[in-house]
Symmetry: C2
């Protein structure tokens, strides 16, 4: 067991066995039922009620608990109107119905209607253009067809990227408004039976969600980089660079059908076509719509629940364990399914202390507010307490929504071995094998050769989409994000139907995976709290970074050859000859040649890292096993605690200094989807080749810092064991 002596591991296993026995599904069921009985969005009365109640709960389990409050911009809608005015008239319903099978679907009090947070105010009228997912590649297809969105209103389906990318890219191309809709292809009847017969999105279901430019920075749009305390310096709404510049509104597929049916122009490319029973046309028009939205641009208090169990030996080493507690409507799956597992984990930890046991390190449980509008609660807290967190936090362990199925794990690759060790000791509630074994089986059946050949299951690199982002990518704190899923399916995401009734029928009936989650993250929390040496492992990290570098080198080579091929076809006119002369077609133009890049600084650093990684891991393991570090263990852990920060660059990424991690970032044009080695990968992808060399140097420097710290740690260990 990484970080433990054999004897310590035995004691740890006994502790974890007691944890397993304490965790109860019934508590999660009862708490979820209460929490999601009324809307819990940021600023709602029940949001504050449940925050206070959570504080009381944590206190009753032996924690020092409090609310950490920030004042954040959270616009709510005053006007929402969408009408098609030509070729026929249709007024969008913009409303999710009451279903007898769903007890909270008809709730009226404090109900937050369907909208996109941080849309601009606006009253615009224009022809519609269907832009598929509305990501940059889709606009290239429009260009080939000679279609501009300048002065038009685009209609984009959800999916293919984080939703905030869609209006951003639309505005970059001159659109005056954006309509987002959920195509039944993506989470409606095409995928399975719709609610209430099945879990998928019914015709009037709508996905709410935020649309500010989060890849610039998440959190309160008015206070980047600093905590949104009452007295913080703020941008005005007009000054904020992340608030969307055009109006945006989400609609259901019942509301989208009349609009899309009324369109003409070219037939959409095959990959663009959804599951509505129509021929998808791109437009522009003849459908013309008026879109009118206005918002209350108010500051609202966001309340983070923070519950602390002070460490008995290393109180200034913190294991931070968080889940958000706000939802768009009822928020049963997202996020309360994860929140109640966190609470049950905390209750179990509290229960363990009743027999005199105390954690060696400090454990901090957090229930973040205002995650839905853009990671506001966690980001403001992390910005506000950044210095202290960078000194003290040894781990940020995140969860969010949970479901039935397979272990999903992402995070820092120094923790990959640790995740595997834990996963081998948690039992899957449906099959009785370990959650590790079940996930391995799934990957093997899906054709992943590594699932049969590699000792460890890979964990995913993290992009964004939940509260780990400020910890990992802004502060450089080693982080993990854990969930179960893959067998819940469903289309309740961000709709009124993400309810207790939906979740307990389709999400995780009986909260069996709530139990598995509490057992998994509980082990992780306790191992980090109890380990002699922080359970990092360098071998997998080095191999993984080397793999990312291989990918980026291949990316450059592939882009170079595809550019050469494109330019040859442009030169000989093949595109024009291959096109149907009866349809408008604008051939692509030649692209600048892709230069050869100097990968050697990063390759040399990776090579040095790979060369020492095995020795580092062996030396640490030996030092732990023979217990010879003595009091210098704190010094070693001090180095290891800083290791992830060594991977960050204080200047951040080009054009978005808030994102500092050199290995992991959310993509500037994916929003949630990760870009590894983002400084060089995005510069190449976006053909900003002049940026590559400087970014290469920065990544190499970060890796050299890691290597130097590992050398320092080895010297410390060697001095001790000699």
């Amino acid at each position: 067991m990484l970080g433990f002596t054999a004897e310590g591991a035995a004691g740890q296993r006994a502790l974890e066995a007691r944890l397993d026995q304490i965790v109860r599904a019934e508590n999660m069921d009862e708490w979820m039922r209460y929490i999601v009985s009324k809307p819990i969005y940021t600023g709602s009365p029940h949001n504050k009620e449940t925050a206070d109640w959570m504080v009381e709960q944590f206190r009753s389990w032996g924690f020092e608990a409090r609310l950490d409050e920030y004042q954040v911009l959270f616009p709510t809608p005053r006007v929402r109107e969408l009408e098609m005015i030509a070729p026929t008239r249709y007024t969008a319903r913009l409303r999710e119905p009451t279903l007898p099978e769903d007890a909270t679907s008809g709730i009226e009090q404090d109900r937050l209607p369907t909208f996109n947070a941080y849309s601009a105010d606006g009253d615009v009228t224009g022809e519609l253009v269907y832009v598929n997912y509305g990501i940059p590649g889709d606009y290239e297809e429009l260009e080939r067809r000679g279609i501009s969105v300048e002065g038009k209103i685009v209609i984009a389906r959800y999916g293919g990227s984080w939703r905030g990318i869609k209006p951003k890219v639309a505005a970059e191309h001159g659109a005056i408004g954006t309509i987002l809709y959920s195509d039944p292809r993506d989470d409606g009847y095409f995928q399975g039976d719709v609610y209430p017969e099945g879990p998928y999105r019914m015709e009037h279901g709508v996905q709410r969600g935020a649309v500010q430019d989060m890849p610039q920075y998440p959190g309160d749009p008015l206070t980047p980089g600093v905590g949104a305390t009452a007295d913080a310096e703020r941008y005005t709404v007009e000054e904020s660079p992340t608030i969307m510049k055009i109006p945006v509104l989400p609609i259901s597929y019942a509301d989208a059908l009349p609009l899309l049916s009324a369109m003409q122009g070219p037939v959409a490319p095959q990959e663009w076509r959804g599951a509505l029973p129509i021929t998808y046309h791109i437009g522009p028009g003849p459908a013309r719509v008026r879109l009118h939205v206005e918002f209350n641009w108010d500051l609202t208090p966001a309340y983070n629940v923070v519950a602390v169990m002070r460490g008995s030996e290393f109180p200034d080493e913190w294991v931070v364990r968080g889940n958000h507690r706000d939802g768009w409507a009822m928020g049963a799956a997202d996020p309360i399914s994860g929140m109640v597992a966190l609470m049950e984990e905390a209750r179990a930890v509290g229960e363990l202390t009743r027999t005199g046991w105390r954690p060696r390190r400090t454990i901090v449980y957090a229930g973040w507010d205002a995650e839905e509008p853009g990671l506001l609660g966690s980001t403001e807290w992390a910005e506000h307490r950044g210095t202290e967190l960078q000194e003290k936090a040894v781990l940020y362990l995140n969860t969010d929504g949970n479901g039935r199925g397979f272990l999903g794990a992402g995070g820092s690759h120094t923790l990959e071995r640790f995740v595997n060790e834990v996963a081998k000791e948690v039992t899957d509630p449906q099959t009785g094998v370990s959650i590790w074994e079940r996930t391995r089986a799934r990957r093997a059946v899906a054709g992943d050769a590594e699932a049969l050949a590699r000792a460890d299951l890979r964990i995913a690199p993290l992009g964004s989409g939940s509260d780990y982002t400020p910890f990992l990518q802004h502060l450089g704190i080693a982080s993990l994000n854990i969930s179960f899923g893959g067998e819940s399916g469903g289309g309740s995401y961000h709709s009124q139907f993400d309810s207790y009734d939906h979740y307990t029928r389709f999400g995780d009936p009986g909260f069996r995976y709530g139990v598995a989650l509490a057992q998994t993250t509980g082990r992780m929390t306790l191992r980090f709290a109890q380990a002699d040496v922080l359970p990092l492992q360098i071998g997998n990290y080095a191999e993984t970074v080397g793999g990312y570098l291989d990918e980026v080198e291949s990316l450059a080579d592939d882009l170079r050859s595809s550019t050469e091929r494109l330019n040859r076809l442009v030169a000989d006119g093949s595109h024009r000859l291959a096109a149907d002369p009866t349809e408008t077609f604008v051939p692509p133009t030649a692209e600048g040649a892709v230069p050869y890049f100097n990968f050697s600084p990063v390759r040399n650093a990776v090579s040095r890292l790979e060369a020492v990684a095995g020795d580092v891991d062996r030396d640490f393991a030996r030092a732990v096993a023979d217990g010879s570090l003595g009091t210098r263990v704190a010094e070693l852990n001090g180095i290891l605690q800083q290791l992830e920060q060594a991977m960050t660059d204080t200047d951040g990424l080009p054009g978005r200094p808030w994102f500092r991690h050199t290995i992991y970032a959310p993509g500037f044009y994916t929003g949630y989807g990760v870009k590894t080695l983002p400084g060089i990968r995005e510069a190449i992808e976006q053909r900003e080749f002049h940026l590559v060399d400087a970014q290469m140097t920065r990544i190499a420097a970060a890796l050299e810092r890691v290597i130097a710290m590992l050398a320092e740690a080895r010297a410390l260990v060697a001095g001790t064991v000699s």
Copy 2:
């Protein structure tokens, strides 16, 4: 120019330039309008009227023309009933509507309703099971879900294979009936606007078609291997091995929607889901249907139009040029678009003779009857006159439906270079470049690296689906199949709406590609008629066969490793662990190991063939160029005429002796889709490993025969030029 001296080539080009000038779109338009004014299925009055009219036309152009008549089994429906009896009632409409935009859609006289020819008579009632395309892989998915079709009625969508495969495989699995329908995903609104707004299949459109077991043998089900003359020995209907053993009926998606909507059971795999606005369920049931069909099992005369222009120098060397002339309903695109191009080509050839020119070889134009029910007209003719054709035919050149767009060419790879030479000299009517250049551009843009690097565009190997099959795969006559398409789109196939109105709006407005087709096939016909030496080329053939062998070797290796992987996962129980325990799942069982096969006989033969191919081509070219062959040219052509027959095996393929070609065959489970080196490829695919060695020997022997004939030909040439 292959087969011509420089001087001969100049004369040939002049002849072809005159051909180009003679060909007129207006004739094709006028003839199509007449031919498709009434139904032209086999046995219809207008079928015979147009046959007689065609004979008159050919005679007027200077041909000796006649009708060659056979008596074939062509069942037509007496009863067609389909009713859903649970959980609700629905009576299928089974009728295509009258559209004001389509002048012949309302025709009543001699109208052939929607049905599948060679369905069994039957009156069956059972639960429905949705089987996707109904091909073998789909039944593996059913097996994983524990679903049997035993005693059930399957509903399968068109596509994924030739339609006759679907009831055959259903019956193999115990189904008692088969319903075929056209999903809008495949040729309806998902693909584009539906008729009459656009070319795609409207909700009541139905695809008719034959469903006998054609991969056993095509043609009259009662007379395999012999011409269906009046006095031929015949199977009874009951004895015929190819007539389907269960009832089959095709329906529209308007008729399919109530049935599919009423189904429950597991949600269909993603790849199975069509474009109807429902969740696709597999069943079985609760939808139960009654399917009742009965047929008139009558012999019907099939009239092949045969028009001969006797060769002036080599009357016993025949260029056979055919297109079928029967259609399921009006048959505008399929087949009259090709038939009128053939007629215009023939008229032009006739016109050329008015100035005293005569073809050196005999040209035989054919308008086949009864292609739609299963290549009956061509097959009976080829069987009936097999010996003479094997002695005399130097080429079978086929066309069928034609459309707008790009050259499509398939056939014997000894003709690949010839096709390329011709394609470089025909002008694309839309772009003004050659049809070769336009097709090359399209392939290059689609990412085909060979389109930029290889001297010749590849032609496709032929499976089945049109009248080349008896010539190529039964008799071993070098064959080509030529068409244009890719820009017509549409879903009129085998429906009442395959009409003059549809074709002239969406198929090939102005018959511009009809002209291109006549110019292309006209060149081919005339070059084969006029060449000094038959224009075969061995280099591309040898390389292509070598490539097929590479494919089959890879197939064996891939099947071996996938079997090993499967068996490992079966042994460790991964499939069970990866499955959702709340759903029925039957894990796959272990498969027998894939042995290593002795590819050396074929590899050695291919290697020898590749070694001599270049020299053969050079020797032939030199002999043609210096004209030194003298009268021995007939002897050389005699060898070349036999070359394709050397590739056939008199015992045919395992279980289907009618198919004799060792290089090309339609797949036993694809129906139309080609299997190259079928003897070994299908034995490996179908895991009949015990068949491989004997088939390997047969293919090697065929290639050795080719090599020996080429050696003989070279000796002949060398003796001449020395």
